[in-house]
Subunit: 144 residues, 2 copies
DNA sequence: GTGTTTGCAAAAGCTTTGCAAAGTT
DNA sequence: AACTTTGCAAAGCTTTTGCAAACAC
């Protein structure tokens, strides 16, 4: 709890109860939740926190680099608390978004962009999107 | 014009005037337009085509593999008529989405996934997203 | 002629806003 | 005390829907 407070303070954000609850909720959610999923996940324990606050707070976190947005093709905002370099697996049949990271691939891509030039662009980050179907929707996707 | 008709017929879609106009509009638009941008681009020449039709038609095209959706973090749908394997450059200051393709990178990534396994997933396609800032928003991004 | 597609207007879903009250430092 | 954040309800977008009329084959 005090860690969250520190995290907020270091971004010069006031450590309100709402922000702590919401930050905790996104951080512990590994499915790249929508605003509504975050809201629902805290609602029972915090019936007083409004949906509008969840909207505003998540955007504030993004602006301050505490979390990121994930791209989707569905026209819905989804958030990601994993700040490390990583890609995503988009599961076309279950709609899940699963983190993907591979040390070797990361190296390969970084090396590649050392040799290629993109003029007039300052690259902020690069991510790989894998689209696929879960063969058995009940089972997990396992990356080896 | 007859090419569009053929394209539609080969997907077993009736070649209506609306579909031809909309398909032509997405195909000639390189900026990965939103629904509204497609609508605006045809409106003057085709005041009778309704926004609802543009919505429905673009989704029909995606379902039939004539175009694709592009992922965004803004919670808006955007479309792409480039069907080849390629990635995107997301320009954080201008909001443009620019196609990116490199033969070598494509090879490297394909080779990589021949050696790595992702269990329980059937990969449909892989794309690379580059996020960055245009240094001079007036100039084009040039990929060398 | 049969079945599909369109336009309209209404509804539904997602997100933002304005402002007074409450909270943080 | 000064300034920021919250909740509410309303407004603003984006997208979908139901259905009768129009259209393609």
């Amino acid at each position: 709890m005090n860690q969250l407070k520190q995290l907020l303070s270091s971004s010069k954000l006031k450590a309100t109860h709402q922000r702590m609850v919401i930050l905790e909720a996104v951080k512990s959610n590994k499915v790249h939740p929508t605003v509504d999923q975050v809201y629902e996940s805290i609602r029972e324990a915090n019936p007083g926190i409004s949906l509008a606050t969840v909207y505003k707070t998540l955007e504030t976190f993004v602006e301050n680099g505490l979390i990121n947005k994930v791209s989707t093709t569905e026209g819905l905002k989804r958030y990601d608390s994993n700040l490390g370099a990583h890609g995503h697996i988009y599961c076309l049949n279950t709609n899940e978004i699963i983190d993907y990271y591979d040390e070797d691939l990361n190296r390969i891509i970084i090396d590649f962009f050392k040799t290629k030039r993109i003029n007039n662009l300052k690259i902020k980050n690069i991510s790989l999107n894998i689209n696929g179907d879960k063969l058995d929707p009940a089972k997990e996707v396992i990356i080896k």
